[in-house]
Amino acid sequence: MLFRGRYSGSSFSELLDVDFPQLRAESSSGLSQGRGALEIPHGTTVLAMRYEGGVLMAGDRLATAGHMVASRDVEKVYMADAHSLVAIAGAAGPAMELARLLRIELEHYEKIEGEALELEGKANKLSQMVRANLPAAMQGMVVVPVFAGYDLRRHMGRLWKYDVTGGRYEEAEFETSGSGGIYAKESLKKAWRPGLSSGEAIRIALQALTDAADEDRATGGVDLARGIYPIVKLATASGVEDVPEATLRQVYRERIEIARTPAVAE
């Protein structure tokens, strides 16, 4: 059975297409075309920004299905490999599958070829994977990721946004996606500047997510009662790291303090 495979390249998704079509999700068939015929969980606000040491990526934790909460603690920001991150917004099922597939895809390539893809190569591969999801997107299963990572050749963080057709656009500053993305973007627009420190980047990311949760009912803010905080990850020269919850808690407290302190009359 080991030698029966026909595929001999280095892409995992192509391997599935050629030799294991039964494992490929039938992404478009079986879904009704009517609006709202099927309430599929959707993930909501994610953002990415460049800062001094690389890139930061953050996302809220809420998944909604129509007017219902589907989950309060989903993860929308994933480590794609040692130096890159992918954030997903859209239909939760296909989006998570896309993130998982990307991760295996990058690792598979690295193992088969003996060296990792360049950051641009990874971004491009994701573009093809989003394009492959187009038939499903046409039926409402829209998945739009944001991809970011640390470019080890150019010594800087880079980030890309995508559209449903697989279009790929590199952004120099920041990008947001999801239903609350527009509010998060407005927030970042005012706070972002070149050469942010990681601390400042975390602060404005949390602010942007809170602003998005304020305006968009499908975006979850900080849930103090349950102790649920957004997911924030950094990709730097030394790899991907999670920003610990304790740090986020601290930053959030400080923000509330500032917001509650009355302005002093001059």
Binding site: L2, Y7, L15, I104, K111, G114
Partner: protein
């Protein structure tokens, strides 16, 4: 009408085995050694084409013999494991299943095809302290005819297995730190070469390190090999 020559099955198998052994003996041997925190794979390999590779989170591969053949086997192993991990879970991917699949496939080629594979491989898996029932290391050696064996402590493949095994039997001890294991591996390989110590830049060293999170496989650079060889730990 031409009469085909009759060759007895015994003769046929013997010829194939001899052919395969000859091919394997042309290359250098590889040793896999358990150390206190994992498994080290050591090969004499001055070229940039690797004989040791990563298969999955806790599984490594090493091959001797014909490069194109064992490298193809390595890639097939990566595909086998990635598909298995994708359709089930990452913890379901085990060295035993992979080694068995290799054994079947290599054995099949040996009996069915005219030319056997001129390869010998080792599949090594480091245990995970966090997974109950999966804490133990495992090492499997698969030969050109598909015969498979499991090993503890050390595992040798290549043309000089007997002398290397004898060397390791008298010098290997359980729970060695990495530096000591690596020196032992180098000395064992050197002993098969007449005793001149192999230079660090001619060694290919990869480890499966228990203490690493996620992917346990790591390829050591020439500088790192020098550092590890020089340390007492």
């Amino acid at each position: 009408m031409s009469m085909p020559f009759y060759v007895s099955p015994e003769q046929l198998m013997q010829d194939k085995a001899e052919y395969a052994k000859k091919g394997i003996a042309r290359g250098k041997s590889i040793v896999a050694l358990e150390f206190d925190r994992g498994i080290a794979l050591v090969a004499e390999n001055p070229s940039s084409l690797s004989k040791i590779g990563e298969i999955y989170d806790r599984i490594a591969f090493a091959g001797v013999g014909k490069f194109s053949e064992f490298d193809q086997l390595r890639k097939i192993g990566v595909r086998y494991c990635d598909v298995k991990g994708y359709s089930y879970s990452r913890e379901d991917v085990r060295a035993k299943g992979l080694a068995n699949a290799y054994s079947q496939a290599i054995g099949d080629v040996f009996t069915r095809e005219l030319k056997p594979l001129e390869v010998e491989i080792v599949v090594a898996e480091v245990g995970d302290d966090q997974l109950a029932g999966q804490e133990q290391n495992a090492m499997y050696r698969v030969q050109f005819d598909g015969s498979i064996s499991d090993h503890t402590g050390y595992c040798v493949i290549g043309g000089t297995v007997e002398s290397l095994e004898a060397y390791l039997q008298s010098n290997y001890r359980e729970g060695m730190p990495l530096g000591e294991a690596l020196r032992l591996g180098r000395d064992a390989l050197s002993s098969a070469n007449g005793g001149t110590p192999i230079a660090a830049e001619n060694l290919e060293v990869c480890t499966l390190d228990r203490d690493r999170g996620g992917r346990k496989f790591r390829r050591a650079s020439a500088d790192e090999i020098n550092d590890i060889l020089g340390t007492g730990e």
